[in-house]
């Protein structure tokens, strides 16, 4: 661990979220406990409907747990103003939504007083040149949109990046470009990244730690290389053999 990686930044303690859909009660997240350390990358893997996205939404406080608690810097999420908390723990959606207008206006949306230099700096951080600033968002490819979405989050100077399958809609080349970009940003700024992915290969490339969720529960966690090659639980072994639906 590097010096920035020895502190716990987010901790989930016995977190559950119960929802009612079509009259049925379901736990999308079930008794989830885990401590996330600063400056690390965490991959959350698991079959569809395992509660991965639901868990990210709890960290960004778009939803609240029905049981348990989540701590950020040792304080409960509820003790922060939601608007400020979401700037510190920023969520990037699977399908990036850019507000109508230009790339520049999207970055200004997050920080109305940001200068042209800041826009240039943040666009370059995600591998886009400054000319993109005046480009209409409707002209961008999906990969470019995702980069703008990342730049838009970075302008808020978050400590934690929550990424919900950020490369799901991208081709393999664009996908790996985003992965490299994320890895360099995490290293450079000691960011903590919690990324949901459906792809074990992607988790391997990202490294760090991996958490396997099944039916809302955290069933196994560990260093990515170890978990994905030598899972200890039956669920982990089934997941690797692609037997978990």
């Amino acid at each position: 661990m590097t010096p920035c990686q020895d502190t716990v930044i987010i901790e989930a303690r016995n977190v559950s979220r119960q929802v009612t859909a079509n009259g049925n009660i379901k736990k999308t997240v079930d008794n989830f406990s885990y401590a996330f350390h600063k400056g690390n990358i965490y991959n959350i893997i698991g079959p569809s409907g395992a509660g991965k996205t639901s868990f990210l939404r709890l960290l960004n406080r778009l939803d609240d747990p029905t049981e348990g608690k989540i701590l950020y810097q040792n304080n409960r999420l509820e003790s922060y103003q939601p608007t400020q908390l979401r700037k510190n723990i920023s969520l990037i959606f699977q399908e990036p939504y850019l507000f109508p207008g230009t790339v520049g206006t999207n970055l200004e949306f997050c920080k109305s007083d940001c200068t042209q230099n800041e826009i240039k700096f943040h666009l370059e951080r995600v591998g886009l040149n400054f000319q993109f600033s005046g480009k209409d968002v409707s002209e961008l490819s999906v990969g470019e949109k995702q980069r703008v979405a990342i730049a838009r989050s970075l302008i808020l100077k978050p400590e934690v990046l929550l990424l919900d399958e950020p490369t799901a809609a991208l081709d393999p080349t664009s996908s790996q470009t985003i992965e490299r970009l994320l890895l360099s940003l995490i290293k450079e700024f000691c960011l903590t990244a919690i990324m949901v992915t459906h792809n074990p290969e992607q988790a391997k490339r990202m490294g760090g730690f991996t958490l396997l969720m099944v039916s809302g529960r955290l069933v196994e966690d560990g260093e990515t290389a170890e978990l994905l090659t030598n899972p200890k639980t039956e669920s982990g072994q089934k997941y690797i053999r692609r037997e978990l639906k």
């Binding site: 960004n60 406080r61 778009l62 939803d63 609240d64 509820e78 939601p82 608007t83 400020q84 908390l85 979401r86 700037k87 920023s90 969520l91 959606f93 399908e95 939504y97 507000f99 949306f109 997050c110 838009r152 989050s153 808020l156």
Partner: protein, 251 residues
């Protein structure tokens, strides 16, 4: 001069028969509603005519107040039906319509533009409440449907640290504007595409066109004021229903 009596009204009923036959030929399934609506219009308006005659003659303040209250309650119920997705649609409609119509009416009375007589207050209040009711219904409908179909946009804004008000401001503005479109179109085309109803009624009743026009202008301004205030009030209260105290979208 138009002759107005029951005989003329019953004779005009052949127009209903014409519409009925045409829709039957074209298999448009509205015969029942048409028949029911025609009879209902007749009975309702005759009953209202007698009631107004009675109220105007009595000059009772309480009867005027009761009439306004009944109009507000019925309009609130109708607009509230458009707000089934959340609780309290009737109350929100009632507050919005009361604020819009009473502020408008109160100002007109205070400025002595209209005199406090039943024959002015009741028809004018009816017009402004009816127009405001439509605007409030559209505002309810639009806010709900726009927020739900643009969930990703709303939650993206929230996830970037925006408040619920910032995340929903575009939808609030669009809904209010949609609610006001009818009155804005009316004001754009008044007298050109069609003579407004109130003015037509006055001219048919023998009032000079110039006087009818002046009254119609006042009515149009009252409608604009009431529709704007009611839509803004309804939008302001309703949009809050889609978010909780911790800036989460609950729609």
């Amino acid at each position: 001069m138009i002759e107005t009596g029951y005989v003329q009204v019953l004779t005009a009923f052949f127009l209903v028969a014409l519409a009925f036959v045409l829709s039957r030929i074209k298999s448009i399934p509205v015969e029942k509603e048409m028949a029911f609506g025609s009879v209902r219009t007749f009975i309702q308006l005759i009953a209202v005519g007698y009631a107004l005659e009675f109220i105007f003659n009595s000059e009772s303040f309480y009867l005027v107040l009761l009439s306004v209250l009944i109009m507000l309650l019925v309009a609130s119920y109708t607009a509230g039906e458009r707000a089934r997705m959340f609780k309290g649609g009737f109350i929100i409609s009632f507050i919005s319509l009361s604020v819009g119509s009473l502020v408008t009416l109160g100002l007109m009375l205070a400025l002595r533009i209209i005199s406090p007589e039943a024959r002015y207050i009741i028809p004018l209040t009816g017009m402004i409440i009816s127009n405001s009711m439509n605007a409030v219904s559209i505002t309810f409908d639009r806010i709900g449907s726009d927020l739900k179909s643009n969930r990703l946009e709303v939650e993206t804004a929230l996830s970037l640290g925006k408040s619920w008000r910032q995340a929903s401001s575009r939808f609030y503005r669009d809904a209010i504007r949609a609610g006001m479109i009818s009155i804005l179109n009316f004001m754009k085309t008044a007298g050109i595409v069609a003579l407004p109803g109130a003015m037509t009624g006055m001219i048919l009743a023998g009032v000079s066109p110039l006087k009818a026009v002046l009254i119609q202008i006042i009515v149009a301004y009252m409608l604009l004021s009431s529709v704007t205030i009611s839509s803004l009030a309804a939008g302001e209260i309703v949009i809050r229903k889609y978010f909780n105290d911790v800036e989460q979208f609950t729609g």
